[in-house]
């Protein structure tokens, strides 16, 4: 019995508390077959073993709570560590730059890493916390993204309720394809900038 079987068997027997617990620790960064669990929950809803609104409410709440814990730990634990390190080693300006960048782009990053690029989720939580991204905005994008994630995966489970194992396998691979494509585009753009001749500096 692998970990997936254990988690799904527990979900079947104990229901919502397992859903809550597993999603919570996954949001903090422990890797579990979480998409498979949501797809399975969707299937159980379709078969009348679980209630749709309960699954969506509990899963969303657990995900958001886990993200907030990771954010808080990084913000008040990680930030102190970064400050101390940068004071000792130097590079305070760079830390400030990284923070400014995160503050500017994090909204989209937080939102997309909740439901599309789920592999990046825990990292974005930590990065947002360390960069002291405004908490209210983090919460806003977090709730929006996580609810979408839960509805999406439970919906897929509901629609393909007789093919949980198959769908989850495909989704698991697909998540990496999407993340890989986005990183490819970013790196490719970087390469294009290297190859292209630099623009002439403005005269005067």
């Amino acid at each position: 019995m692998n970990i997936t079987d254990q988690v799904l068997a527990a979900l079947l027997v104990y229901g919502l508390p397992v859903l809550f617990g597993v999603i919570l620790i996954c949001s903090v960064g422990v890797p579990f077959p979480i998409s498979l669990m949501l797809v399975a929950a969707g299937s159980f809803v379709e078969q009348g073993d679980m209630k749709l609104w309960q699954v969506i409410a509990v899963a969303s709440f657990a995900a958001v709570l886990g993200d907030q814990i990771a954010y808080a730990l990084s913000r008040w634990g990680g930030r102190r560590l970064i400050n101390r390190l940068s004071r000792r080693i130097g590079g305070e300006a760079k830390v400030k730059q990284a923070e400014a960048l995160t503050k500017r782009w994090s909204g989209a990053g937080i939102f997309l890493s909740r439901w599309l690029l789920t592999a990046l989720g825990p990292w974005v939580n930590v990065a947002s916390g360390i960069a002291a991204y405004p908490w209210r905005r983090f919460l806003f994008w977090d709730v929006l993204g996580e609810v979408l994630w839960v509805i999406l995966y439970v919906g897929i489970g509901y629609a393909f309720s007789n093919r949980v194992q198959a769908i989850a396998e495909i989704l698991g691979n697909l998540a990496w394809v999407i993340a890989g494509l986005i990183v490819t585009v970013i790196l490719g753009w970087q390469l294009v900038r290297y190859v292209r001749p630099k623009p002439e500096p403005d005269p005067g």
């Binding site: 019995m1 997936t4 079987d5 254990q6 988690v7 799904l8 068997a9 079947l12 027997v13 299937s43 159980f44 078969q47 073993d49 309720s161 007789n162 093919r163 949980v164 194992q165 198959a166 396998e169 495909i170 691979n173 697909l174 990496w176 394809v177 890989g180 494509l181 990183v183 490819t184 790196l187 490719g188 970087q190 390469l191 290297y194």
Partner: protein, 135 residues
Amino acid sequence: MKKLEWRQWLVVLAFVLVVSVTGLFTVRTVRRAIYWHYHQDEPIRPWMSLGYIAHSYSVPPWVLHQALGLPPTPDRRPIREIAREQHRSVNEVIAILQDAIVHARPPYPPPGPPPPPDNIPTKNPSPGQTQGRSP
């Protein structure tokens, strides 16, 4: 200047690496999708309940309950629990279920309605239930 070139090579390396990994996962995704397109049945796993297996394989649940000697009442337990209770291995239970599924599908006659709870079923009822199935 030198430092920048070194960094550019690093980006090239990262790019090649990411493209390869993405390609690998794309191939895997497509292969899985094609596989599941042609294989209607997913393998029975220890986490599945009898209800889920019946749903997934489109057979009446009572057929599976009967195969394991269980009453035809809804049972949410994963089959590994049932196996433990019956002092069987999970693989043994899976084999019994697969056998029952094979016999509940064409070319075998459809299983028909569930048996009344008190009677022990001995054969398939209602031979008139062919529902226009073409050979």
